[in-house]
Symmetry: C2
Subunit: 215 residues, 2 copies
C-alpha cells in the first residue's frame, strides 16, 4: 500500500509524529510543515504555502529539499490544508493520504481541517484520509460494514458521528456494543475500548470518524 | 455579569488559562481540573469526576478545597464534561458558563466537548458557553444579529457553521465581508480579521461557533 504523507504547519511540534520514510511513498510539506520535513532529511515531492512566517534562509532549505515549490499569496479563499488536498487529488493517486502536524495551536484551524470531510469537493478522498499525531489516529468511514483492528499503543477507541447515523452496530470486539442504534444528530461516542484484537462495526447512513487514542 | 467557571481535566497544562477569582462567581473542577484549581488556591463549589487517575493524597487536596465532591464510577454513559454541564444547568444560574482545560491530548475528548452543542438536552445553555485557552476564545450563536468585539490580543476571527447556514452577513467591521450567503453544509470560514473595534454579523438559520484566535 502506498501513501501520500502531508505535513501541515501546526506550531505544536510536541505533538508531531514524523512520517515513515518509504521509497514508494510521496511527501507534501505545507508551510512550516515543509521546513520541518526538510530539516529532518525528507526529500519533499511538493512544498506549498504562503511561507509568510518563514525566513529567507528557511525558504532556501525548503527549496533545496523539494522537487517542486508552490507559493501562494497569504490572502486566498482556501486554507493551506485545503490546497494541499486539492493537489493531492490532482497529482497523487495513493491508497492513503496521511496528515500530520494538524494539532495544537489555533482551534479554528483544527476545526477547519476536520470539517474538510463535510465539503462535497473532497468527498472522493474522505475514506483515504488518516490523521495521525502522538496520541490519536483518526479515519473516516462511509456506510458499510468494517473490521477494525486495535492499535497496540492506544487504549481508547471512539465513534464520532459527523452526521446523524442510522443502524450503528458495534460487535462484541468492543467493550460497549451497539445493535442498530440510530442517532438523530451528530454525536461523539467516546472512550470505548477493544476487548479483542479487532471488532466489526457497521452503519447504513451518515459519516463516521473513528479515533484510536491514548492519554 | 456573573459566571460559572468549569475547569476540565485536559492533560495539556501548557494551554491552560486559569479563571479569574471573583466573589460573585462559581467554580466547578472536573477530575484533574479540580486538582489544578485546588492547588492554585481556588475554593471550588463543586468537584466531580471518577478521579481514577488521581492519588489518595491528591483527592484529599481536592476535598479540602471543595464545598462539595461528587465521585462517579469510571464506566458511565456521560463524559465528565457532559456531567459538569448537567450540574451547571441544575444548580448554577449564571449568565456565562466558561470552560477551561478542554484542549490538548485526546482528539476524541475535544470533539466530544465541542459537539455537546449538538445535543438537544444542552440547547438551553449553548449561547451561555465560552471556551477559553491560551490562544482561542470560542462562543456559540443562534440565529439573530450580533455586534462582536475584537479581543485586543487575538489577530484572527473565524465563523464556523456547525450546521448549514442561511443568509450569513458579515459587515465592514471584518476584513472579509459576506452579504446574505448560504452554506448548504457545515463549513469553517477561518482567518478573517476585525478591521475595526467591532463588527456586526447576522444569520437566519443554523448554529455558528465564533472563534477569536492567535498563533
Amino acid at each position: 500500500m502506498n501513501s501520500l504523507h502531508i505535513m501541515l504547519g501546526s506550531p505544536d511540534s510536541r505533538q508531531h509524529t514524523m512520517p515513515p520514510l518509504k521509497e514508494q511513498d510521496y511527501y507534501i510539506g505545507v508551510d512550516k510543515g515543509a521546513l520541518l520535513l526538510a530539516e529532518n532529511g525528507y526529500y519533499i515531492d511538493l512544498s506549498l504555502g504562503d511561507f509568510d512566517s518563514i525566513t529567507d534562509a528557511e525558504k532556501l532549505i525548503i527549496e533545496k529539499n523539494s522537487k517542486k515549490v508552490i507559493s501562494f499569496e497569504p490572502e486566498k479563499d482556501d486554507t493551506d490544508a485545503e490546497l494541499s488536498l486539492v493537489y493531492a487529488m490532482q497529482f497523487f493517486d495513493t491508497e492513503q493520504i496521511i496528515l500530520y502536524g494538524w494539532s495544537g495551536g489555533r482551534l479554528d484551524h483544527l476545526m477547519s481541517i476536520l470539517m474538510i470531510v463535510m465539503q462535497p469537493r473532497f468527498k472522493s478522498i474522505v475514506t483515504r484520509l488518516i490523521f495521525i499525531n502522538q496520541t490519536n489516529t483518526l479515519k473516516f468511514y462511509l456506510p458499510g460494514s468494517y473490521l477494525l483492528f486495535k492499535e497496540p499503543d492506544k487504549k481508547y477507541c471512539s465513534f464520532i458521528g459527523m452526521t446523524p447515523l442510522s443502524n450503528l452496530t458495534l460487535d462484541k470486539g468492543f467493550k460497549y456494543t451497539l445493535n442498530n442504534n440510530n442517532f438523530d444528530y451528530p454525536i461523539a461516542l467516546i472512550s470505548n475500548e477493544f476487548v479483542m484484537e479487532n471488532g466489526r462495526f457497521s452503519f447504513d447512513d451518515g459519516l463516521v470518524a473513528f479515533i484510536q487514542s491514548k492519554d
